[in-house]
Symmetry: C2
Subunit: 340 residues, 2 copies
Amino acid sequence: MKSKMITAPYLLFLGEAQDPIAVKTARGVAQWRPENCLGEYGLPGCTVSLGLPSMSPAAAAVLGAKTFVIGLANAGGTISDSWIDAILEALDSGMDVASGLHRRLKSVPVVRDRAATLGRRLLDIRFTDEALPVGTGLPRTGRRLLTVGTDCSVGKMYTTLALEQAMRARGMDANFRATGQTGILIAGAGLPIDAVVSDFISGAVEKLTPNAAPAHWDLIEGQGSLFHPSYAGVSLGLLHGAQADALVVCHEPGRPHMRSLPHYPLPDLGETIDANLAFARRTNEAAALVGIALNTSALGKEEAYELCADTARQYGVACTDPLRMGVDEIVTALESLPHS
Amino acid sequence: MKSKMITAPYLLFLGEAQDPIAVKTARGVAQWRPENCLGEYGLPGCTVSLGLPSMSPAAAAVLGAKTFVIGLANAGGTISDSWIDAILEALDSGMDVASGLHRRLKSVPVVRDRAATLGRRLLDIRFTDEALPVGTGLPRTGRRLLTVGTDCSVGKMYTTLALEQAMRARGMDANFRATGQTGILIAGAGLPIDAVVSDFISGAVEKLTPNAAPAHWDLIEGQGSLFHPSYAGVSLGLLHGAQADALVVCHEPGRPHMRSLPHYPLPDLGETIDANLAFARRTNEAAALVGIALNTSALGKEEAYELCADTARQYGVACTDPLRMGVDEIVTALESLPHS
């Protein structure tokens, strides 16, 4: 997605954050793309660090920083008045600014005007004004994997990024394709699929993962769940548009209910696998389940390994906790997946 | 949807149409809401008529017309230069203008400026800038029916409108809830669901069909199909958001392939019923199939009646061609549907 391409290297902005959760997005960028992160910048009062060199926007620009990345979450997704000076300093120093906040950079007049005067880009990556096609369902060359899940926030992004890392380590040609704001900041490109007009969900995914070399893998970050009453439409459009050869199902055992919906229980893992495979096969008959990724953070080590082994036996595919155990077994399954 | 409410009565604009298909939308308004249609207005060269009194915008305004309705389809959905004078005359005469075209009325400077000067509303009903909530899946009072289908354009809107008419004829309290541009022009209100940002599909439907009296029926116009590779996300969000008590499945027997997708066969009717019921029950456990509506226009009369009888036997519910046979049997099934 050229229009959304974020130019590296970055200076990661931490604002006045005092809580590791508030800088989760910036931490994701530093973890998965350390080569793109020149430094971090916290305002007075900021008590968290990503372990990167601390520097001002002006100093970072001298060292070559191209984009000031606001990888912060705060209540309401607003742009704090106290951040404006830092944003303007970044623009004045020659940087673009990228933000994953709900409030658009372009909606702050002083920021918008300064960027226009200086010819800098304001990248509001939660939004897209890209012209998108209606999905066609036509087959595309190259291979595709999609992570799906029983719910939101069960590790789809993490699993997809871990697969990219592990596949590249084996010399495989693989690209993470981001569909959410954190993923887009990490990848430096992508499409915020939940911000797309609903007529174009599957078309947007087709555009994000176009024809590619036969051995190339697009690893598509999944969103939501077919069983989530708020977001299932996004998940189904993503599933049809991906035309995935391979699905990895992500799940958090023991989660008490669907995210933000205390009145909805989680679907069963088997039910989730069946529904996703059935709908995936509508646009790619060869779609196969290649692995299950469990978030076992609530379990002890032994219990976690036992659960993964049991789950692997039950469904006949690799099962792992990517954070604890890596994703090598899933990559091995991908290597031996027949070409469709 | 207050923001989109179109004020009756209307003058229906036919442009220079020479083809009945081009005025399909206007014909729908005249057919289903004759009480709202004061007259029609064709430009020189127009060879079609809806059988309404022909009158100029100025003359219609004198008779009380409140909205000039552009219910025309043309290649590309553009606003022809030759229509501008008529649109301006309508504005000058005191009318709002409503349009179902892709090109926005607001994007034509002379139209936008005249409307602003005169304080008239330009209703581009294919678009929405309404603030929408994320779906909650929480139960709502009142009863809901949703039409679903094997494909696009299999009669969902027609069936829903026919049900409204038949239910009202029996004294039932029922409202057609429009989700597409023709439906919105007919109902004078609604939400263009395929124009909604994908995060809000089910939330938009929840807002369109809010809490209501226990015996009240919202009859929700369905869109697309769970099996349509371009639009299934819209269909699933609609299905979850509707929390339908009753589903009617629409189908055109013998259709060779999915609309606009020659490489995709139609799903089986039984498969369509099963998938829709399964996903509908995620947000309303009591969701039930109450009828099947077949478009039998390609069949002879006897063959059509036989097919409906066979289909009814096979699936154990009423089956009818609404255009040929009405929808009374489905309404009878609705009357005896237990309250959930």
